[in-house]
């Protein structure tokens, strides 16, 4: 049996809301980065670095990283609990899903820490 207690907000409504808000943040961030890249086709290193210098860009970047972690976690949780289940894959499915969930959690945590160190460390 797959229960709701292992999801992000322990409530479907809360997960639904977080998925929307984080999705909009990510959309805004990728449009921003896309616009910077398209508007400056032959950018130098200094120009690119200057783009990430203002505090608001760094804050926006961290917001995007945290949104990515929440958004991907909710999406992957939904996908795993729909397809990696005993009904779909047999008795080993719960163990496999637990392992895959851990892999996702470690990867997303790594993305957040790695990303913050890039944005604030350089």
């Amino acid at each position: 049996m797959v229960t709701a207690v292992t999801n992000f907000g322990r409530s479907g409504l809360y997960d639904w809301l977080v998925q929307r808000v984080s999705g909009v943040v990510l959309l805004a961030y990728f449009i921003f980065i896309g616009a910077v890249v398209v508007a400056n086709p032959d950018m130098s290193y200094q120009e690119w670095r200057t783009t990430f210098e203002p505090t608001w860009v760094r804050v926006f970047s961290v917001a995007a990283l945290l949104s990515l972690a929440a958004h991907a976690w909710i999406g992957l949780w939904c996908t795993l609990t729909d397809y990696v289940t005993p009904r779909m894959m047999g008795a080993k499915a719960n163990l496999l899903r637990g392992v895959l969930t851990c892999v996702c959690a470690v990867a997303l945590f790594t993305y957040v820490v790695w990303g913050i160190s890039i944005i604030w460390g350089s």
Binding site: V2, Y45, W48, A72, G75, T79, Y111, G115, I118, S122
Partner: protein
């Protein structure tokens, strides 16, 4: 109450309640209902295909983010790594990788925006759902081609 419990236990919804397992004895008759969620035997209509591709692109993007964060790292670490990355991204193979990732981003975003319209109550009829799916495919296809032209 009995009838609502039956619908809660539909195979198309996630099973969350103990009574769905027949332990409490509330439902025993329906426990043997046939379940067919074998994707290879279901003919997916366009809205279903659009929906499942959103998940597939999402899972792909989860992995692809490692590539994007790696590229961000290389682009900001030093002038040498920036120039090395720029040289790598000029090769056809890396251009293809970037285009595939951008295509997944565009598709996932287009489908996500459709979800927001759905949340607002737009396109909830059968016809609306099919039209919405067609719009997502059309908009994503145009933007993916435009992105491809820009990359090459």
């Amino acid at each position: 109450m009995g009838s609502s419990a039956v619908s809660d236990c539909s195979p198309f919804f996630r099973i969350n309640s103990p009574h769905c397992l027949g332990q409490s004895g509330v439902i025993t008759v329906n426990d043997n209902r046939p379940v067919n969620l074998d994707m290879t035997t279901i003919k997916l209509p366009l809205p279903a295909l659009v929906s499942i591709l959103t998940r597939a692109s999402g899972v792909f993007l989860f992995v692809a983010m490692a590539v994007l964060i790696y590229a961000l790292d290389a682009s900001l670490a030093s002038e040498e790594s920036f120039n090395a990355l720029k040289l790598e991204l000029a090769s056809p193979l890396y251009k293809l990788v970037i285009w595939v990732i951008v295509a997944a981003l565009i598709y996932h975003a287009a489908s996500g925006i459709k979800h927001l319209f759905g949340d607002a109550g737009v396109g909830e009829t059968l016809e609306g759902g099919i039209l919405g799916a067609k719009i997502v495919v059309a908009v994503a296809a145009i933007l993916i081609v435009v992105a491809g032209i820009w990359i090459w």
